[in-house]
Each structure stands twice: as C-alpha cells, then as structure tokens.
C-alpha cells in the first residue's frame, strides 16, 4: 500500500496506547475512523452513480444512513483488542458497501427502473468496454469484489481488511497484528492473487 501518511501511525499508536490503558474513548476514535473510511470507499465505489442516485435521495442521505448503521453496529461491540475491533470494523464497512451496492444499484435496485435521466432508449444495447483487469466500475462488479474479500482465507482477509478497508499501512498492520512486515506483505500479495483468480474467473 502506498503511504497513508498524515500521522495515521501516530494515531494508531495513540489508540493502542489508550486501549492498553483501559481508555474506552479509543473505541470512539476507531468508530469515527471507520465512518471516515466508509465515506471514502463509498465515494470511490459509487463514482459515476451519484447522479443517478440523486433522483431518489440525496447522496449524502444515503451515506448518512449507512454511516449511522455502521456506527450503531460498531457501538454494540465490546472490543477485546484494537486488532479485533478494527477487523470487525472493516467487516462492517465491507458489508455496508455490499448493502449499498445491492440495495441502491443492484439488479433489484430502484435506480434501474428509472429512465428519466437521459437514458438513451434508442440504443439497442449498452456496450460495456471496460477492460476486464481494471478496478471495478459497475456496482455489480464492486459487490462481487467485496464478496470475494469476504471469502478470502482468514489470514489474507484480515490483512486485506486492515490495509484496504481501514487504510492502514503495512507497518501499522504488522504492529497491530504483532507479526513481521514481511508476513503482511506476503499475505497482502497472496490476497491480491486470490482475488484476481476469483474475479478473473467470474469474468470469463
């Protein structure tokens, strides 16, 4: 992962320290961080689909609902460790993203039945020229991606969750999980390879 600078390391160290000292406010910080990440990832995932959505609900409303749900579900959890809590937080982020994709844009999504947005009805068929090995663009593809992460082996899933969903650096992840940085790099690499295999096969 590229550097996720702006003092995230310090922040993480701070949470770890506070948690060690029995300070519950670390949890609130991690929830806030999870909400930030959700906003960022949802924005990435929904890119190009916001305008469609704006017909039903304001984009911010949708995110707001998702954030409230995330906040509630995380608030219920009694964390045993920062690592465990961040893992759960990543899982919640992922599930919220899957819900967002499915509910608002999936095959049953209301957006698909709306045609007043300049939809080109004269086109006999929409041609999708998206290269198969690129970042997902459609929400169906994003949904498949999140689900593929869900199905990764435990070690790979844990690392992928912290790095991609929580935005931690490899160094931070290693510190959090108490393993070497090399192990993180290997699991990160392995996760990407497995995801490519699964998503690549789906596309063929």
């Amino acid at each position: 992962m590229e550097q996720s600078e702006q003092g995230a390391t310090t922040q993480l160290a701070n949470w770890l320290e506070r948690h060690r000292n029995g300070d519950d406010s670390a949890k609130a910080s991690i929830i806030a961080h999870a909400c930030d990440r959700l906003r960022v990832l949802a924005s990435k995932m929904l890119r190009g689909n916001f305008a469609r959505l704006a017909r039903w609900e304001e984009t911010d409303d949708v995110l707001q609902h998702a954030l409230i749900r995330l906040h509630r579900s995380l608030a219920k959890i009694q964390p045993e460790s920062v690592a465990q809590f961040m893992g759960l937080s990543a899982t919640q982020i992922r599930r919220t993203l899957i819900d967002l994709a499915r509910h608002h844009f999936g095959a049953e999504g209301a957006a698909n039945f709306h045609h007043s947005d300049g939809h080109q009805s004269e086109m006999p068929r929409q041609v999708d020229l998206q290269p198969s090995n690129d970042e997902p663009e459609s929400l169906v593809a994003w949904s498949a991606f999140h689900e593929a992460v869900e199905n990764l082996p435990e070690d790979e899933k844990q690392v992928f969750s912290l790095v991609w969903y929580e935005g931690l650096t490899h160094v931070e992840t290693a510190e959090l999980l108490g393993v070497t940085e090399r192990t993180i790099r290997r699991r990160w690499q392995s996760a990407r390879f497995l995801l490519h295999q699964v998503l690549g096969e789906d596309q063929e």
Partner: protein
C-alpha cells in the same frame, strides 16, 4: 509456508523492487536458477499487475485545484495555452498526442464549487450529442485531484466577438439563427435544454458555421444559472420564466426565447432592453414589451421582425413550440418565393430558370458535364443578382446548347421531377449536383465529387444525400472530423438510412471515438432489414478491430485483446479480428495462441497471403520450421496469383 512458496514470494519481492526502480524484469530473468517457477511467477505477476489499483491510496475526491503553472498535462493531453476564462472554469488549447490533434480542455478553477460527480455525469450525457451544430465533447476524465472535459477546438471565436467586430448582414444573421435553431432542436429532442444560449456560447467555425457550446454543463455547476448570472450581460438573454426561477416552466421554449434575443441583437445591433441596472433589466424582461427591431433599423424585413418578436414573447405559449418551427419559419421568410415585392427574382429570371433547370436534366442524361457545370455556376449566381454579367453568362451557356434544344424539348416531358413547379431553383440545382457528385464518386473522381456535393450543400443545405456525399469524400480524403460533421448533418436531415449511420460510425472510429462509432452502427442496424443485420455485426467488429489497432500501437495490449474479443463476439467469421489478435499474441510471445488465431484467420479467408506470412512467423517462433516453410510457400503462391 512451503519453501517453494517462500521462493516465489522472494522472487516477487525482487520483481516489485525492480519495478520501483523503473525496470520490470521478465520472469525468465528472475528464474535463471529455477526455470520451473517461470509459469507460476508469470501468473502471479499478471495478477499483481491486474490488481495494482488495490495498492493505490484511496482518498476522498473533493476540492479541485487550479492547474499549477508547472502542470503541462492533464490525462494524456498536453496543455498549450489558455484560450478562455469563465467564472468557474478555464479552457486550454491542448494537444492530444494519441490522436495527434488539437483539442480544447476545460478545467475548473480552484475556487469553483462543483459537484464533480454530477458534473461528470452531465458531461458524459453531453458527449452523446452528435451534431454538426454542437461542439462535440471528445472525452471526460480526471487526474488525481481534478476533472476535465475535452472537446473540439474552435479557434475562430464566438458569435459575441463576431457581433462586436463585424455584425453579420440580416440575411447571414437569419441563416446563422436557423442553423443554431436546428442544432437546438436536435438537442431538445434528446432531452437537453441549454438554458444559457447567448452569443458567447455560440462559436463560429472556420467555415462560418455556428456551433453551440457549454451544453448542459452550466447545469452541473452548483449554483443555479439564475443565481450566478445576475449581471446585466447574461440576464439579457434569460427568459422571464428563467429569471423568476420557475424551473417547472423551463423547457425548449426557454432556449427559443434566448435565441430570439440573439436574433434581435444580430438584426438591430442592440439588446431588447438596454439598461446598466440589473434589477431594472430584470423587471423589463418580466413585464416590458421590447422596442420593435424595425424602429432601430428599418431595413429589417417585416416578417423577420415578426418571427423575432414571437420568439421573445413573455409567455412561452406565445412562442414557437419547437426550435425547428422557428427555423422553418425563418427559412420560409427568406426563401426567394416569399420575398413579395422585394423579390430578386423577376418573371424573366423564372422563365430562364425553368429552361436552365430543364436543360440540366437533359445534360445530365446526355452527359454534357462541362456545359452543365457552367450553367450551374451561372444559375447559382442568380440567387445574388438577376441582372448584369451573370445573366449574360447563362444566356451564353444556353446558346452553346442551341443545337441540343430540339432534343431538349423532347426530353422535357420525361423529366417531371426536375421540371416540376414545386422545386425551387436551388433545390433542383442541388439535386442535380448531388447526382453528378455520386457519379463522380462512383468513378473514383474525388475532386469532382467534392465540388459537386459541396455545391449541392451550398445550394440547398437541407439535402441529406449531398451532406452524405460530401462526408464520404471527406472520409476518402482522410478528413475524418469534416466527414463526421457532414455525416451528422445528413443524419439530422434523414434519420432512416442505415448506411448514413454506418459511414458516420467509420468516420467516428477514425477520429478515435470508437464508443460513439459502435452506438451509431447499432442505430444503423436497427434501421436495416433482417437480411442486412449480419452485415452490421461485421461493422461493429471492424470498429473494435480498429480500436484494437490503435491500442496496440500505444502498447495497451490488454485493452486491444479485449477489443478483439469483443469484435469476435460480434462476428466470429471476421478473419481480420483473428489475424489482429494473433499478432498481439505473437508480440506478447504467446506463440501457440498466435498460431491458433492465424490458422483461424486463414480458414475464414484462405486467399490472404499476409495471413500465411503471419502464421509462418509464429510457427518459426515455436520451432515448427517445416510447417512454417509450407506457410511461407503458400503465401508466395498467393502473392503471385493476386499480383497477376
């Protein structure tokens, strides 16, 4: 972790480290001491490359920075100079190195508050507007922290500049407004309302034709137009309903109002309401009747004044219902037959014209091209002047055909279409020129074909076959942008000819607009008979093949392969796609696949010597030398046979 896994991981770490240094070693180079790991390492590296995006930092895209002075590129576009500045964005002249053409790149200013997502969505929709009277959007993209829009570069300036420097004559003004109205009508039919029609948003191309710009983009700026434009300059073009922000009342007639104001300004040299005070102007737009244009300039034709005032009626219901109606009424008003009392065509000229027109028909059948050309030249001058040398030249040209007049008399009865009373002088001449153009095109004479088609469009700009013909010649001459514009014009006039869409598609593909090309072919296909459907599938395949060629040239092999897959999916009997795919496999050293593809291409078309040559190369690479030799031998035989 097994020792093999550990070894693979180390190799990948080495590969990643080298990549960071700017050098990507091949698996073969990394596995010198463990060649058995080459296949697995190759697969892993491929996977890592494909999932590179997962490794990128994810940031929230919010503010857009102004391009730094040092920034010379956005996306692939190289910025050259600023050519326009607005309140929210600036427009750069830029070079597109991939297609080797100049384009305009619009970048938001740092202080502009845009909703980037809806902006992009809007721009994507605008990109679907294909009309010669609308500035085309070529591309929409974003760099790390800013979006940008790439469109056709128009360097000749805006109508605003034209009005300031050299206001067009009444006739030219009306013609400009007709063209703008037709482009607007096209957009309205696609569901777009411009909402900001004003001379600054109408650019004039090098041939003097107007093109509407900033279509729909204004809508994406977070402030509504009415709020951000409370300046006297822009408010003047705003309809009463727009001024009052009655969004539910805004429709095509809103644009008709603004265009009416533009016409008013063109004709009279001033705006309907003149005041420096924005509030006063606002009140006037809402409730005051404008000064009639003829009180400013008496030479403005009465009928044109009436149409202009109708367009700027306060109540939308009192305006034209469509922009096309506005255009049609204007056209009718300036047609020679409608200029009662002030007609430049007297009885004598009408008679002469009848003879000349009939004579055209006769010459057409007898192939007396030169004489016909001469008369066409002269009769077209009639539109400008009845007396003087032009008339003399017509008589002279007719004299030259005296000996043919007897035959002409005989043929006249057989030419109802041409001698019919319904057609105007220009229309008949235009049709004839179009036929001549087609004949020249058939015989491969592009120069004559162009002259004829061009003349036809000048004589009658509503003749789709003429625009289509000119487009085809432009295409043959490699002028793809011009071809695109012509063919788009033909399609706006005739929407049912599949071949127009097909030819437009090929022009678009040559212009690098492959997605649009595919769309056009599919529209064309929807208009074909069932028997022709397969033919159109081949065309789609050809467009993908063409993009694959471009992508291969740029080293984007994966994209090219994807295109060829798509081409084959559309038409699995298209040999060209297999040959192209084989070539990419060959370049990627995937020789087995290359042989398979070349073999398939040969199976589909066994008479192409180059397919055999390609197959020979791939077989050589695999060490299957005797087979390769056989392929080369076959290629030689075919080359000889085809040469003879």
């Amino acid at each position: 972790m097994s020792s093999t896994e550990s070894k693979i991981f180390d190799l990948i770490e080495q590969w990643e480290a080298s990549c960071k240094d700017g050098f990507a070693p091949k698996p073969e180079e990394l596995c010198v001491d463990c060649p058995e790991l080459i296949p697995v390492l190759t697969r892993r590296i491929q996977a890592l490359r494909a999932t590179e995006w997962m490794d990128k930092e994810i940031v929230l895209e919010t503010a857009h920075a102004e391009p730094q002075p040092s920034l010379k590129k956005v996306g692939r576009y190289e910025l050259i100079e600023i050519i326009g500045k607005g309140a929210f964005a600036e427009v750069w002249k830029a070079n597109d190195p991939e297609l080797d053409r100049l384009v305009a790149v619009k970048l938001p200013k740092a202080n502009a508050t845009f909703h980037s997502e809806s902006f992009l969505e809007e721009a994507r929709k605008v990109a679907r507007l294909l009309h010669s009277g609308i500035v085309s959007v070529h591309d929409v993209g974003r760099t790390q922290n800013q979006w940008f829009i790439v469109s056709e570069l128009m360097e000749s300036g805006s109508l605003a500049a034209r009005i300031k420097a050299n206001r067009p004559s009444h006739d030219e003004s009306v013609r400009l407004v007709i063209q703008i109205a037709e482009a607007l009508h096209y957009a309205h039919r696609q569901g777009f309302i411009h909402r900001d029609i004003k001379p600054q948003n109408i650019l004039i191309d090098e041939n003097g034709n107007p093109k509407i710009t900033d279509f729909g983009i204004a809508l994406s700026e977070t402030q509504p137009v009415a709020q951000r434009s409370r300046t006297a300059g822009t408010l003047a073009y705003m309809s009463p309903e727009q001024g009052q922000n009655q969004t539910e009342k805004i429709d095509a007639r809103t644009d008709i109002y603004s265009l009416g104001v533009v016409l008013y300004e063109l004709l009279s040299g001033r705006l309907p309401f003149v005041t420096d005070d924005a509030m006063e102007l606002f009140a006037a737009v809402l409730s005051q009747a404008p000064r009639t244009p003829r009180t400013i300039d008496q030479t403005i034709p009465v009928e044109i004044e009436r149409l202009c005032l109708k367009a700027i009626a306060k109540n939308p219901a009192d305006r034209f219902s469509t922009a096309q109606d506005f255009a049609d009424e204007l056209r009718k008003a300036i047609s020679p037959t409608n200029q009662n009392g002030r007609s430049r065509f007297g009885f004598g000229s009408v008679l002469l014209f009848a003879i000349a027109t009939s004579a055209f028909g006769f010459w057409w059948f007898n192939g007396l091209t030169q004489k016909r050309n001469e008369v066409i030249r002269n009769t077209s001058n009639l539109t400008d002047s009845i007396s003087g040398p032009a008339l003399g030249r017509v008589v002279q040209a007719l004299d030259a055909t005296k000996s043919d007049l007897a035959d002409l008399q005989k043929n006249l009865t057989e030419l109802p279409a041409i001698s019919g009373e319904q057609k105007t002088q220009q229309e008949a001449s235009a049709e004839l020129a179009t036929q001549m153009g087609r004949k020249a095109l058939d015989s491969g004479d592009q120069t004559t074909a162009f002259t004829e088609f061009n003349r036809a469009t000048e004589l009658n700009d509503r003749l789709p076959a003429a625009w289509h013909g000119r487009g085809v010649v432009h295409f043959n001459q490699g002028k793809f942008a011009e071809a695109t514009a012509d063919l788009q014009k033909a399609i706006t006039l005739e929407t049912q000819k599949p071949e127009y869409f097909k030819n437009l598609a090929f022009a678009l593909a040559k212009n690098g607009q492959h997605d649009d090309a595919v769309k056009q072919i599919l529209i064309g296909q929807s208009k074909t008979t069932l028997a022709e459907r397969d033919e159109y599938k081949r065309y789609v395949a050809q467009v993908y093949d063409s993009r694959a060629a471009q992508r291969t040239k740029n080293g984007f092999h994966d994209g090219a392969l994807a295109d060829l897959e798509e081409a084959i999916r559309w038409d699995d009997s298209f040999p060209g796609a297999f040959d192209s795919r084989g070539a990419i496999h060959f370049n990627l050293k995937q020789h087995e696949q290359a042989v398979a593809d070349f073999t398939k291409a040969i199976e589909l078309d066994p008479n192409r010597h180059d397919y055999f040559v390609h197959r020979g190369h791939a077989l050589t690479a695999l060490g299957r030398i005797s087979e390769a030799q056989a392929a080369y031998e076959k290629a030689r035989q075919l080359e000889r046979a085809n040469g003879e």
